[in-house]
Amino acid sequence: MSLPLLGTAASTIAPRTDHLFTFMVLLCGFVALGVFVMMVFFAVRYREGSQVSRGNIGRHRGVEITWILVPLVIFMGIFAWTAFGFVQLYRPPDDALPVYLVAKQWMWKLQHRNGRREINELHVPLGQPVHLLMTSQDAIHSFFVPAFRLKQDVVPGRYTSLWFTATRLGEFQLFCAEYCGTDHSRMLGRIVVMPPAQYAQWLSSGPAHPSLAQYGFVRFRQLGCSGCHSPQSTVHAPLLDGLLGRTVHLQDGRTIVADETYVRDSILLPKKDLVAGYAPIMPSFAGQASEEDIQALIAYLRSTGRPDAAGGSR
């Protein structure tokens, strides 16, 4: 049961958010109504000149403790409930379809794993989890689909992610929710949810592209990455097969888990996280590798970690 005012709910997360919202409206409405009724009641009953008994009220420790503890317990209860639901947003299912997104003033550029590109539109299959890996080329943007009850800032210099499973066919509005300059309110798009079969057809139609991982491999050679990062190389550089998800020991004693942001930093800011045992000889590829290139390189590196290393379908 949810408030009718909330608009279409079209993702697996949305009904839970709506239940929580409805609960909060009822709870807070009850509290607000209680306060207002008491205020009005007192205001009428104890208006100047009415015939009622009045007098100073002394300290009521019991009352005070009650209305310290009752809100505290209720608030912490809500926190526990909401925190539990929030954790789910950070755990994309393993079989989620990856989609790469680059935001820029003022458009959304998306690329599917098989290399199909879209602008300001995202086609997704019904009932299948989709995992967006997002970065921005300029200011901070925010990917907001009200029907999914989901929003995630898209930040330059790092990757943020968002996953959802659409539960309704149709088109849903995509907004930029973080103010990003002149045409912020024109940075719109739509999510098109299709039946899985139709989606598969859509995905394979359109101009032929290499898959994102294949394109990444092409760029891996074109940009010269393979000149150093290969077993044949005479240069002492780490091999990158299966890098993503691995724990990396750094020169300064830190260890980090190699994620997308780490790969991106290593390409653009190679001096930031030096790997232990290697000389800082890698030049920065800032200005040479675009955000799309880096996403393709990540897709390629990701594919090297798997048995079906050719990329494409999993």
């Binding site: 005012l5 909330l6 608009g7 958010t17 929580l20 919202f21 909060m24 807070c28 306060v35 207002f36 008491m38 205020m39 007192f42 205001a43 104890y46 208006r47 100047e48 008994s53 009045r54 007098g55 100073n56 009220i57 009521h60 009352v63 005070e64 209305w67 310290i68 809100p71 505290l72 608030f75 912490m76 926190f79 909401t82 925190a83 639901g85 929030f86 300029d138 200011a139 901070i140 907001f144 929003k151 995630q152 800032d153 930040v155 330059p156 210099g157 790092r158 509005q173 907004f175 929710a177 973080e178 103010y179 300059g181 002149t182 045409d183 912020h184 309110s185 024109r186 800011l269 800032a286």
Partner: protein
């Protein structure tokens, strides 16, 4: 001789060290900026009458909401109750002849005016389009408007806040009349004391952040800009470390005002006086630890979001206590509904709604949906306009007779309070629904389906504007033609009512004796006819 007649030249005003005159100078300053910020708000509401934008371009709209935010936050709300009512009342309420550092107090005003003039300069040059939040890297790399000058104005204004805060802290510590212990202080003084501590501790962080943004913008030093190895989220952490406590800078003084007015017109002691004082301190201290709730979808870690969510729920507890205690103060009381009381009760009601909707935003999954939508816009306007501005107007009416020696016209006062209350709700309640439906904030144009609610909101803004303009008309009228007020027209306790209206330059002939208690009202005693 009262303070208004002690020197009639402009020079005597601009070189005064009298806290009461400085309060009047501040009142003039913030009123000027209130009208500029309000004018920008009216243009915003006019623009949003039609989905395609009724009057201005996207670029101009972005400048309008930026100037509205910058001016209303830093040049109106933050100095409003503290620098006007606080300056006027703190020495009177504690039986002192002035603040601890009178010349520093005048310097604060000059710094404020300088900062305001710099912001105005940026506005006249063409304005700024970053939003009042100045998020990097948009503000440092991509905006080609007058970011650095505007920030310089805010930076300068901050020093006025710091000095005022410092002055109040020392004043409350050292200048209380003999026998006036901490737990005999009016809650207004408690609230301003806590506010001052926040001003002194938080404002320097804003100053540092502004310097870094300006340096980044001019010299690309690589603190916030990822292209130079910086981190844009670092800016948000620093900015909200100041700007969340700044919300309490704006609302704690409003709570203080309500805590003076409600007991007076209910002829009743504040329910749970000590708990009210402790709640103020709790809000001020826990308020420093909740800034991350502005960043739940910004890319901060799951663990950080959890901690900030829990602390945000926690900070709501003392606010809830205060609402319950104000309500309980009405029990067995004897209530008269003069204009100040209408404003104060309106404050409690609107603050309650603002606070409760804050719980929605503290809930992580709801914040993911609602943040950066009109729900947030409505929420913080309920706190800052429904709460703080309502209380500021209540305070203006309550202490107007003290400051001027004249009564405001009661009927007009009540009428304006009603206009503000209904105008406010009509303006901002529809915005909660807009946010629930997914309307993002800071949009110059919007999908057609949101129009009805936007038109309602704009209509409310007209009523609200009338409500705000009325008092300026009748206050001006009352200066000449208002009834003489006498020392204590409302029969209020508190030392400020024991001196003449308007007070003499040195407030009291000799330090007044400390009263036996605080808020010693008796609901059964006959009330003075105001």
């Amino acid at each position: 001789m009262n303070y208004l007649e002690d020197g009639l030249t402009l020079r005597s005003w601009f070189t005064t060290t009298d806290h009461k005159r400085i309060a009047i100078l501040y009142a003039a300053g913030i009123t000027f900026f209130f009208f500029i910020g309000g004018f920008a708000a009216m243009l915003i509401r006019l623009q949003l009458l039609t989905p395609g934008g009724a009057i201005v371009s996207h670029e101009t709209y972005n400048k309008l909401f930026t100037v509205h935010g910058v001016i209303m936050v830093w040049l109106f709300l933050i100095p409003s109750i503290p620098a006007v009512l606080g300056n006027f009342l703190i020495p009177l309420m504690i039986g002192a002849h002035d603040v601890a550092f009178p010349r520093l107090n005048l310097l604060s005003w000059y710094i404020y005016v300088t900062g305001g003039a710099i912001v105005l300069l940026a506005l006249l040059l063409g304005g700024v389009d970053t939003g009042w939040t100045f998020y990097t890297p948009f503000s440092t790399m991509f905006s080609n408007t007058w970011v650095a000058i505007t920030l310089a104005g805010v930076f300068v204004t901050g020093f006025s806040s710091i000095l005022t805060g410092l002055n109040f802290i020392v004043t409350v510590h050292t200048l209380r009349t003999p026998g006036l212990g901490w737990f005999k202080l009016p809650l207004f003084v408690w609230a301003l004391y806590a506010t001052s501590v926040i001003l002194v501790l938080a404002t320097p962080v804003l100053a540092i952040t502004i310097v870094l943004v300006i340096a980044e913008r001019l010299f690309q030093i690589g603190v916030f800009d990822p292209a130079h190895g910086g981190d844009p989220l670092l800016f948000q952490h620093l900015f909200w470390f100041y700007s969340h406590p700044a919300v309490y800078i704006m609302v704690l003084p409003a709570m203080g005002v309500a805590s003076e007015i409600i007991p007076c017109f209910a002829r009743q002691r504040v329910f749970g006086y000590r708990l009210m004082a402790y709640a103020i301190l709790a809000i001020a201290s826990v308020g420093f630890l909740v800034w991350g709730h502005h960043m739940f979808v910004a890319g901060q870690s799951l663990a950080a979001s959890m901690v900030f969510s829990a602390l945000s729920f926690l900070v709501a507890v003392p606010s809830a206590i205060k609402v319950f205690n104000w309500t309980a103060t009405l029990y067995k009381s004897s209530i008269r509904f003069d204009a100040p009381m209408l404003y104060a009760l309106g404050f409690v009601g609107l603050f309650t709604i603002g606070g409760l909707t804050g719980l929605f935003l503290a809930s992580l999954p709801l914040d993911v949906d609602l943040t950066d939508t009109y729900f947030v816009v409505a929420h913080f306007h309920y706190i800052m306009v429904g709460g703080s501005v309502m209380a500021y107007f209540g305070g203006l009416h309550f202490w107007w007779p003290k400051a001027t020696g004249r009564m405001y016209p009661e009927v007009w006062g009540r009428l304006a309070a009603a206009f503000i209350f209904f105008g406010f709700n009509l303006t901002f309640f529809p915005q909660f629904i807009l946010g629930m439906l997914g309307m993002p904030r800071r949009y110059a144009t919007y999908p057609d389906r949101f129009q009805v609610l936007h038109v309602m909101s704009s209509a409310g803004a007209v009523a609200l504007a009338v409500g705000y303009l009325l008092p300026f008309a009748y206050f001006a009228w009352s200066l000449r033609s208002g009834r003489a007020a006498g020392r204590n027209p409302f029969g209020a306790t508190g030392l400020e009512w024991q001196t003449d209206s308007p007070p003499p330059t040195h407030n009291f002939d000799r330090p007044p004796p400390a009263p036996a208690g605080v808020y010693e009202y008796d609901p059964n005693a006959p009330q003075p006819a105001a």
